[in-house]
Symmetry: C2
């Protein structure tokens, strides 16, 4: 017993990295509510409420709108394994880590990747997508709305029109945008969409909201073979979330509690007001950086409000500043991934972390550090 | 805003079904601790502590002992997708729902299932496994230690010897046994093992502890192709849990907090004492049932302590009793699955739910209902 670890005592951080973001105390409290069974009548009502609120936040009426019982990356995999079969041709936008991950998923499903590239820090030009689908027989077009590795926001509507004209499904990664930026699944014609709870929804990591359009469901129902993942097989999972309530796996009950309260907070604030808040604090950050002669990696038009990739000035110790922030301010920001390692700081202003106080404290610390 | 669901107010249940079990208040409190980043130095220490405690509970020194970031069924899938490649011959024990699910997993990986069957309610005879591996060229033998659908406990050691003599890996489902029954990964020669947090560990559902032996790691490293699941690909996941700390996906931070405290509670109680407690309350239940002329589906030798499949007496409304328990006692038990639907009650005595008080209250309610 002498080597029993001490009781947990995690530090109180300001989370301004690429996620997780801070949680409202009400979310953490909800998560600690008494556990009940995943088939309890009281839990089934909670599931219905979560689905209803998720549809509002995702701006969709899709019946198949659910939180997958794992983190955002499993939401990505859920979309691909259900829609892509061996030999399916998939156009994938590659302009950061998460586009690459999509391509990796397509490959693991036996699909063929038709890459559409843009430099890291830039959006994918719709014209390139148009050229890629021109080859014909494309099953789906996959694109990242909010590239967490570069801070780029990808306009969706024109690409959606191109995909649908070509008879393809549109699959969109909204991990870092949902709850912080407008994500309009129905209006934009998104057929499959996934997100994560730990970004702009400000719920701990552990669930991946997804939504499938009727066209995506049709594709699912027309599959030739079984979905390669048992856990993520939506032909079964949808019967647990649907009227049948057929047991599939045990839902992560307390995580669903947390999501319920997180969604309630979002609807209390109002979607429009929440988006405006994210934009306002992004603008405040950009103005402050600008005053120091610093800038973001993407252009202003293509910048996310929720994730800001700040160019590290020449000669400054990138990792040193992150250590300084953690030690002196108990504040977390992210470093660059892949080719951007050492070249950018990733400053998240997501959900509960997107506050004036956080922006100003960060700017103060940065001014101080740069001297 | 008028249709905003009310704040959560889940009922306080006594959870005596097939899982989830009740959580100790300390586990729920731990889960509500402030969230920190999944690469925070403080979180990395917590991960190390969780791994250390998991190894003790699983009775192993396997370095690759981690909680998969999803529920128990994903733990099952993690074991199969990493170890089974197309064409691999797998002997699978089929004597309940969860053996069938294993076979389904093998099929989705392109493996060939060599079934070894026993009637639901009985253990798999080792002689049948011996006959099945005699065909040669068997990659792995997969067996359920604790069949949650039937309450059967499967002895592992003889089957382990048979598997290893045949040059096969041994894969074991310990979802409903870990933390309630002895599970001795190293002593028994288990090569891959998975469990869930919401059974005898008494942590909310959302994580799946797994352990891979050095032989299983070798098989993983000798794979011909990529693991078909990106999310569960242990060649990547192990680098996050290992010294490299390479980012793969965002760990479900607060669920890991809960597991940390759940494991601390287990080690405080002591493994031997905890196993004895589970046995004691199972014995108490069986004695009480016996006094009413009722019995379990499996023989006493093959019965689990953690999950008791009680035969429903002729003429008794199976579902009616479960509704009665929920309404009058706020107590949940489970019904039968598959062929056992309507024929058994599944009474879980797992982890924090395995108490004298719960057993006696259940017996009282049953006596009362049967009149």
């Amino acid at each position: 017993m002498s080597d029993l670890p001490a009781r947990l005592d995690p530090p109180e951080r300001i989370l301004m990295g690429p996620g997780p973001s801070n949680c409202h105390p009400r979310v953490l409290q909800a998560m600690a509510a008494p556990i009940i069974g995943h088939l309890d009548p009281a839990f089934l009502r909670i599931m219905n409420e979560v689905q209803g609120m998720l549809r509002t936040v995702m701006q969709t009426t899709n019946p198949l709108t659910i939180p997958v019982s794992a983190t955002g990356s499993a939401g990505m995999e859920a979309c691909f394994v259900n829609l892509v079969e061996p030999g399916d041709r998939c156009v994938v936008g590659l302009n950061g880590v998460f586009g690459q991950r999509m391509a990796d998923n397509v490959g693991r499903c036996g699909g063929e990747v038709i890459p559409v590239e843009a430099p890291w820090g830039e959006a994918i030009p719709p014209s390139k997508v148009r050229a890629a689908v021109a080859g014909g027989n494309v099953k789906l077009v996959a694109i990242v709305h909010a590239e967490t590795s570069t801070g780029v926001r990808q306009p969706i509507e024109e690409i959606s029109a191109i995909a649908h004209e070509a008879g393809a499904l549109l699959l969109v990664d909204t991990v870092t945008s949902l709850g912080g930026h407008p994500v309009k699944v129905d209006e934009w014609g998104v057929d499959a969409c996934y997100s994560g709870t730990q970004k702009c929804l400000s719920v701990p990591p552990g669930l991946a909201p997804i939504s499938f359009s009727p066209r995506a469901i049709e594709a699912l129902e027309r599959r030739k073979g079984k979905v390669q993942s048992w856990y993520l097989d939506l032909t079964m999972v949808r019967k647990y979330w649907g009227d049948e309530r057929t047991y599939h796996h045990t839902a992560p009950v307390n995580m669903i509690y947390a999501l319920h309260e997180g969604l309630r907070l979002i609807l209390e604030e109002g979607l429009e007001a929440r988006w405006a808040r994210h934009q306002r604090h992004h603008d405040m950050l950009v103005a402050g950086l600008d005053a120091m002669g610093l800038s973001l990696l993407p252009t202003e038009e293509e910048s996310l409000w929720s994730l800001n990739a700040v160019r590290v000035p020449e000669g400054v110790d990138e990792a040193g500043f992150r250590r300084h922030l953690l030690e002196h301010y108990s504040m977390e920001i992210g470093g660059g991934l892949g080719d951007l390692k050492g070249r950018v700081w990733r400053v998240g202003l997501m959900g509960h972390s997107s506050t004036e106080r956080n922006v100003q404290l960060f700017l103060h610390a940065l001014r101080e550090y740069l001297g």
